[in-house]
């Protein structure tokens, strides 16, 4: 089977979609000769020309807003924010324009636009280039949000995102770009909204996305040594959320750990935990546990950054806490 890194898989997805549909264009900084900082548009300028590879000045608000206008006219722009942290300067076109345009025009127009952005800590990039900001987007009705964890899924989900008629935010963890994975022989378009059970188990469910899926799988191996049988769900898309998959697993294991890299406070893990509490309270044998980034600024100094975001050891600890919880003993 063919193996590809995630960055090459993402490049392949965009390339195939640009060949398939002439309305698909890429917009962003350094997408031309440089081929974007992570190489995902290498060669595109030569192949598709400057009308479809829009290399912009550094002005995230302007070019993201421009993409919204193009999308209203039927173009399918794939916008790259060089880092998701830069959403701070491109917030209005995303949250007030792209997300709301369909609703506010009474359904006259859709915004078939993808906003791709690298995210995540672990590269010693400090506070403005290391964040996971899923929650910024999941909070806004009108946006969809995808966070892949493997090259094959990144490709299949990105193709679906480009074909989707709604604005889709597609977040790629920087430390996954170089990871190689097996690619399917045939074209694969993975529908948005379907989670992937990456490992089946009976004792506890770990719900994760993006790089935390890899940590969850490592943790599951470690926990196996202690006889704890872990199920790992890779959500893949946070909006739409695959509630069916979550429900099925929770009703089987009755114990839940949710792992996210982003800040714990107001994170999406809290949203999932709340939904489980609201609808599956009687299924739970223990309180839902969250594993998440600390509520601090992503630090530059290596020993500080290493404790800032969670890894497999943190997940192992959380699972052990959950499975050792004795029902009713917590009450006083």
């Amino acid at each position: 089977m063919r193996k590809l890194s995630m960055s090459k898989a993402i490049r392949e997805a965009m390339h195939e979609e640009m060949v398939r549909d002439e309305n698909v264009i890429v917009i962003g900084e350094d997408l031309g000769k440089m081929g974007s900082p992570f190489g995902v548009t290498l060669g595109f300028l030569d192949e598709f020309g400057p009308n479809r590879v829009i290399e912009t000045p550094i002005c995230e608000s302007g070019f993201t807003g421009m993409a919204v206008g193009a999308a209203m006219r039927g173009i399918r722009p794939v916008v790259e924010l060089m880092y998701v942290d830069f959403v701070g300067v491109a917030a209005d076109p995303i949250i007030n324009q792209a997300a709301k345009m369909r609703y506010m025009t009474g359904g006259q127009v859709s915004i078939p636009m993808v906003i791709r952005a690298p995210m995540g800590a672990g590269r010693r990039n400090a506070g403005q280039h290391s964040q996971c900001l899923e929650t910024y987007f999941t909070h806004i009705p009108g946006l969809k949000l995808v966070c892949p964890s493997t090259p094959a899924e990144a490709k299949g989900l990105l193709k679906a995102a480009i074909r989707d008629d709604d604005p889709v935010v597609f977040l790629e963890h920087k430390l996954l770009y170089a990871d190689k994975g097996e690619m399917p022989e045939e074209e694969q378009v993975i529908p948005l909204g379907l989670a992937n059970v990456k490992r089946e188990g009976n004792d506890v469910t770990i719900i994760a996305w993006s790089r935390q899926v890899l940590f969850a799988l490592e943790a599951a191996k470690e926990l196996e040594k202690d006889g704890i049988d872990v199920e790992v769900i890779d959500l893949r898309t946070l909006v739409p959320l695959d509630w069916e998959a979550i429900k099925k697993s929770v009703c089987k294991t009755h114990n839940v750990v949710i792992a996210q890299e982003g800040y714990k406070r107001s994170g999406f893990a809290g949203e999932i935990a709340t939904q489980i509490m609201e609808e599956l309270f009687d299924e739970l044998d223990s309180p839902v546990e969250r594993v998440a980034g600390l509520n601090t600024v992503p630090p530059y100094s290596p020993p500080l950054e290493d404790v800032f975001f969670p890894n497999s050891n943190d997940i192992v600890r959380a699972v052990k806490k959950v499975v050792s919880y004795k029902l009713y003993e917590g009450a006083h």
Binding site: R52, G65, V68, T105, Q108
Partner: protein
Amino acid sequence: MSILTSNNVKDQYSTEMLLHMYEDMVRIRKFEMQATVCFSAGELAGNIHTCVGQEATAVGSCQALEKTDFITSTHRGHGHCIGKGAKTDKVMAELFGKVTGYCRGKGGSMHVADLGLGILGANGIVGAGLPIATGSALTSKIRESGEVTLAFFGDAGSNHGTFHESINMAAAWNLPVVYLCENNLYGVSVDINSVINTETIAERAQAYGIPGVTVDGNDVLAVYEAVKTAVQHARQGKGPSIVECQTYRIRGHYEGDPSSYRPKELTEEWKKKDPIEKFREHLLKLGVSEDDLSAIDTAMDKEIKEAYEFAKSSPYPDVSEVTLDVYASENERSVIR
């Protein structure tokens, strides 16, 4: 900096076109006055921002566009939309939040849109229309489809980062777009001269290497001529222009705003420069009969009365619509959860 007026242009227009422009200006004025009455009577929800006194910029600009061209508009957008062909009954119904409005009542006063008429939407965020118009122009360039997009924005919008970012890109890539600034002297309550350091907004065009002109925004033919030139420039692939129309909103920023930040004398002075009165006098001088103009006034009274009755008698959207059209596609799982 010279300000263009219709004294600089020749009287060479067809009577049909002139009467059409007069009709649209009266239509907009009467629409806005009806809206203020409805607002005072508690018939409208939210806020409305009227363009009374600014009708010439909307009509002069739209007259210079083709039906297939596009506009983006602002929170003060009723006039732009009507000028681009929106029907007063459906705009009024939108203000009433009724399902028969252009956006099924989901956008309201600040968000009238009709893609079929080339109205890419009024917008509640100051400065947000400029990049959208730029993206529309980019699309026309990519497709070589020949449309021009015109972005309406105000003096306040001209100080937004999106003004610079949009015009810079459009100028660099020769995009077919016209940036139409309605300088009505106040951004909500702030005097434009207290927050900018140039005599005009149009002179900023020099920074982008594009044409920029300042016109008397209460002179509909001056606006028309300036925009026509800018539209031709854009359509010929020569890129964007800035057209600044100096005008004044006679009423407050929103209905109910007492405008305490403006000297009353200034408002009185601008009332004397009423764009409709001015154009009416011009037409009479050209030999158009008083009767013809009065017939238009009467017809517009009737149209607006009917628009009001249509809006008032139309149903609200069914409450089941509250989550309709948040998304275009549902995917494999509920997108609303």
